[in-house]
């Protein structure tokens, strides 16, 4: 069976969506699936070095994630890269708009990527959007 490919598009900056994206991406990556994560819009500032995983909750469940000490989304995204070989690609447009320099991003985040390159990577993959 050919290796499966999944592209995870993360545009939300809220805790529940970042958490679900990180859970899905990390477990897929360590299960032999080729995973590419494309970060854009409100998700990007959370991946600046030193930014905490303290994203705003959408509802009560987001607060419960903190209260119950669920693994934080940044740790899970890092593990997706380190344990599962996932790629995390920040959107070059989002970096430009937000004025974020590449060298200020967490070390597990890859090179800025434009939509053309991302669409090429996603052409034969399932795409999940959060």
């Amino acid at each position: 069976m050919a290796a499966r490919k999944i592209c995870v598009v993360v545009v939300s900056g809220t805790r529940e969506r970042l958490q679900m994206a990180a859970m899905a991406a990390s477990v897929a990556a360590v299960s032999g699936i080729e995973v590419t994560i494309f970060l854009s819009m409100n998700a990007v500032p959370h991946f600046v070095k030193g930014a905490t995983a303290d994203a705003p909750s959408e509802g009560a469940f987001g607060d419960l994630l903190v209260k119950k000490k669920a693994p934080d989304f940044k740790t899970l995204f890092r593990q997706a890269v380190e344990l599962g070989g996932a790629k995390i690609l920040p959107c070059s447009m989002a970096l430009d708009i937000a004025g974020i320099e590449t060298d200020t991003l967490e070390p597990f985040v890859g090179e800025p990527t434009g939509l053309t390159a991302f669409l090429n990577a996603a052409a034969d993959a399932q795409v999940w959007t959060f």
């Binding site: 990390s26 477990v27 360590v30 032999g32 000490k69 669920a70 693994p71 899970l76 593990q79 344990l83």
Partner: protein, 76 residues
């Protein structure tokens, strides 16, 4: 010689214990047994599923006083 290692994932939630297991598996030798301790019901089901999917051996799962002991043998 094969080793037995304990991974204490108590207090963590899915997929935390699984990720801790995978981190230790990568540094282990073929034949080593890893026992994950978890009080997360989801992990007690999900870890054996992952082990079968990637081809390691699920040795056993037992539950004692609300703590699951999931034992895995590294096979490759």
């Amino acid at each position: 010689m094969a080793e037995k290692k304990i991974i204490d994932g108590r207090g963590s939630f899915c997929p935390g214990p699984l990720m801790e297991l995978i981190g230790v598996l990568k540094m282990s030798q073929i034949g080593d047994e890893l026992e994950v301790l978890s009080n997360d019901k989801g992990s007690a089901k999900d870890i054996p599923e992952w082990v079968r999917k990637v081809g390691h051996e699920h040795v056993s799962t037992t539950e004692e006083a609300g703590v699951w002991h999931i034992t895995v043998r590294k096979t490759k």
